[in-house]
Symmetry: C2
Subunit: 251 residues, 2 copies
C-alpha cells in the first residue's frame, strides 16, 4: 500500500518522510511561509498539501510538540511557541559541550588533563552497573572557550569498555563523547543529570578563575547508551558562561 518512491535513497536509519517534514516545518516557521504566523495549518490540510497521510503529519507534529516548539489544542489547532523556537543551549537536548562552545563561535579545548585508574566504590559501581573494586578510568580536565575557563569536568569510564587494550596508549584528551564513540563503540543516547549549585573548592575556583560571589552549576550525570546501559559517570562544573535553558512540561 505504501508508495516506496516516497522513501528512496534512505541511508538514514529511522524516520524518513516524517523527519523531513519536521525539518521543513521548522525551516518554514523560522524563516519561511510560517515565520509570521502563530498557527500551523490544520493537520488534514498539511497532509493534503504534502501528499502524505494524516498519520505522518501527526508523527511530525508529535516530535515538534515534544520539543516544545508547538502545542496542539483540540478544537483550536496547532499553536506555535516562538520563544521556544528561538532557544539555543537547551540543557535537556544537548549532551556534548564541545559543539555547544563552537556554536557560540568560540574554540573549545582542554588543559590540565589528569588521567588515572581508580577502583569503583559502592556508589560508582552501582551507577556504572559494574562490581565494586572493578577498574575505572578517571579523567579530570578543565575546558576552555578560547581563553576563558568554562567547565571543570571529572569523568569515570569503566576500564572494561576498552577491552584488552592498554588505555594509556589511547588519546583520552579530547571530547569524551568522541572517545567513547571512536574507542569504545559506545554512543550516548541519554543521560540523567542531578543538578546542584556549587561554589567549588579552592583549587577548582582558582582553576576556573571565579570571582568571590560567583557560583557554578554542578551536573552529576550518568550517560546511557541506546540499550540503557550506563557507560560513563561525570561531574561537571559549569560557569555562568553558559546560558542554559530547559523546557519544563507536565506529562
Amino acid at each position: 500500500m505504501r508508495d516506496s518512491s516516497l522513501s528512496p535513497s534512505s541511508r538514514l536509519g529511522g524516520a524518513v518522510i516524517s523527519d523531513r517534514i519536521v525539518s521543513a516545518l521548522l525551516e518554514e516557521l523560522r524563516t519561511g511561509r510560517y515565520a509570521q504566523t502563530d498557527r500551523l495549518p490544520a493537520e488534514v490540510d498539511l497532509a493534503a498539501e504534502l501528499g502524505v497521510s494524516r498519520t505522518v503529519i501527526r508523527d511530525a507534529l508529535s516530535e515538534m510538540e515534544r520539543a516544545g516548539y508547538i502545542e496542539r489544542v483540540r478544537g483550536i489547532g496547532t499553536v506555535v511557541n516562538r520563544s521556544v523556537l528561538n532557544l539555543r543551549s537547551r540543557l535537556d537536548q544537548k549532551l556534548e559541550y564541545y559543539p555547544l562552545i563552537r556554536s557560540f563561535g568560540s574554540y573549545p579545548h582542554a588543559d590540565g588533563i589528569q588521567i588515572y585508574p581508580v577502583r569503583a566504590g559502592e556508589e560508582l559501581a552501582r551507577d556504572l552497573a559494574i562490581e565494586p573494586g572493578d577498574d575505572v578510568i578517571c579523567i579530570k580536565k578543565r575546558i576552555l572557550a578560547d581563553t576563558t575557563p568554562v567547565i571543570y569536568s571529572i569523568d569515570y569510564l569503566p576500564r572494561a569498555l576498552f577491552g584488552n587494550r592498554d588505555y594509556t596508549r589511547i588519546d583520552l584528551s579530547g571530547d569524551v563523547f568522541d572517545v567513547l564513540e571512536r574507542e569504545c563503540r559506545q554512543q550516548v543516547a541519554s543521560n540523567v543529570a542531578h543538578l546542584k549549585a556549587s561554589c567549588g573548592d579552592e583549587p577548582i575556583r582558582a582553576a576556573m578563575r571565579l570571582a568571590p560571589g560567583e557560583a557554578m552549576l554542578l551536573l552529576d550525570e550518568i550517560c546511557y547508551n541506546r540499550l540503557c546501559h550506563p557507560v560513563m559517570r561525570s561531574l561537571s562544573y559549569y560557569t555562568n558562561f553558559f546560558d542554559f535553558s530547559i523546557l519544563r512540561k507536565l506529562l
Copy 2:
C-alpha cells in the same frame, strides 16, 4: 470501526486507552510482572494481550520513551531504563514546588510575602507579551519546607490577567499556580527556564540561612498556557534541599 465499548465513561479529556496502558505498564514495571525484567514484550504481543491495535501500544510506548523510562531499538526490542524509572524530582517534568515539597513529606508554606505593582520595562514586556509601561503585579516570598527555607521566589503577573477586579482584595499568598488557575483561569502548560548558579545578595542569603560557601540554583522562568501565551515570569532561588534531576536526550 472503533468499538466504543472500549472507551466508556471518558470524562477525561484526551488519551483514554493508551494512557491507561501507560499507567498499567509503569505499574507492572515498578512492582508487577515486569519488575525484574529489562525488556518489555514485543509490540505485537502486547497488542494481542491487551486486545488493542499495535498503534495504541506504540502511542503508549512513545510516551514512555519520551519520559525516558524505555528506549526502543529496532531489531532488538523495548529496553527498560530502571534508573530513570526510579527518579523523583524531575526538573523537566515538575513545574510546581508545593506538591514537590509535599512529596518529601514536608509541609510547604510561605512567609515574608511582599506584593506590589510595578510597570513593565522593555524586557519584562517582551517576556510577558505586553506593552512597556503596562501594569504588572510583583509577588516576593520565601517558601519553607516545614521550618527550612528552601526557595526564594519573585513572580511577575500581568495586571490584565485579573480583569477589572481589585487585586489587593485577592489572596495572592498561596501557591501561585493555584492563584493563576483559580483567579485568572490560566493553566500553566509549559515553562522555559534559564538556569544559573547564584550566591544571591546578602538579604536573600540571610533569609535563606545559607552557610558561607553554599550556593543556590537560580531559575529564570517564563510560564506559558496551552495556547503558548506567557502568563508569568518568575525568578526562583532554590537551595540544594532539592535534588533535582533532569533527563537529557538528543532529539
